[in-house]
């Protein structure tokens, strides 16, 4: 069966293009990511489009199988509910497997007794949003030890901002305000989310991390990430922590701090990399 390559600013875009071009739906395509897109440095150097290879699935065969068992379709549907938009449906597909702690955030409500911070955090966020003014509802729940605040409504990307900037700012301030008086050590972590952004982000990071580690293993040379904020670096470190053949380290200062993935048995100079 023939396969085609597509490029786009993001993987999603590339897949969308593929669907359009081949006049089909994403569900009917096997997608293989060849290259992640990178923003490059200051948007000038090293900008690269995402590349995907898609292959049409043998629909007829699958339909016949599905008729037989129904099961294969059912699992498929669970993974990417059809009513979701293309973007969202795509996330679980590419990196199905296990999830990191941050990834499982949304659906587990009310685990253990909610600490007083829960209501407080909810109020603070609502008050801030009300003054922005954004009309949205905040749903508070517990996710492990952290308070998870989900902003419902509005729908626009306004609250997420460029690369999640606004969402991070909201989260940072709510954390600051809530933990203002608490002594360090007993601080409550508060996660602010909307439209499942955090989970999507984690999934994207996971994909990228795994790809980078593959590359490091293949080339036996250190592979460098683009600079990212602390929280995202942490996720990448955690994801790659169980990989035996690579290890990760961060270098650089402030906003330029980046992760470098080293192959364990690589002969490339580790020292020089600083």
């Amino acid at each position: 069966m023939s396969s085609y390559e597509f490029t786009g600013k993001t993987i999603k875009e590339a897949v969308a293009k593929a669907c359009e071009e081949l006049r089909t739906e994403e569900a009917l395509l096997d997608v293989e990511v060849l290259e992640e897109s990178t923003r490059g440095f200051l948007g000038i150097v090293g900008q690269r489009d995402a590349r995907v290879r898609v292959r049409k699935r043998n629909i007829l065969k699958e339909v016949l199988e599905a008729e037989d068992t129904r099961s294969s379709v059912d699992t498929d549907v669970e993974e990417s509910p059809p009513e979701e938009s293309l973007e969202e449906a795509e996330v679980p597909r590419q990196s199905a497997v296990s999830s990191v702690d941050e990834g499982e955030v949304p659906e587990n409500r009310e685990v253990g007794p909610p600490p007083p911070a829960l209501g407080e955090a909810k109020t603070v966020l609502e008050e801030i949003l009300r003054r922005m003014p954004v009309e949205a509802e905040v749903r508070a729940s517990m996710s492990g030890d952290a308070v998870y605040l989900d902003i419902k409504g509005d729908g626009s990307g306004l609250l997420i901002g460029k690369k999640g900037q606004t969402l991070d700012a909201l989260q940072f301030l709510v954390n600051k305000i809530i933990n203002k008086t608490t002594p360090s050590g007993s601080k409550t972590e508060i996660i602010v989310d909307t439209e499942n952004y955090r989970m999507r982000k984690t999934e994207n990071l996971r994909e990228m991390a795994l790809k980078m580690s593959e590359k490091a293993k293949r080339t036996l040379k250190p592979v460098s990430f683009n600079p990212m904020p602390a929280g995202e670096r942490r996720i990448v470190h955690l994801i790659l922590a169980d990989e035996r053949e690579v290890y990760t380290k961060s270098y650089g200062e402030g906003p330029l701090r980046r992760i470098i993935v080293y192959p364990r048995h690589g002969m490339a100079g580790k020292r020089r990399r600083r």
Binding site: E127, M132, V134, L158, G161, A169, F172, I177
Partner: protein, 76 residues
Amino acid sequence: MKELIEYIAKALVDNPDEVSVSEVEGEITSVIELKVAKPDLGKVIGKQGRTARAMRTILSAASTKLKKRAVLEILE
């Protein structure tokens, strides 16, 4: 937008009574001036200016929504 900054600042500092915010409105851009008690200055600026940056980010999101521009100035 003034209320937004005022609320956040009051929530951050130890002396909320000494927070004062004024808005100087221009045609396109309005400047929001934030004044806090001296010991609280660090609280609204934050480590490496992180808190101030977060407030500015939220402010710019808010002003996008209102189709305006706003700048936050922290006065000493």
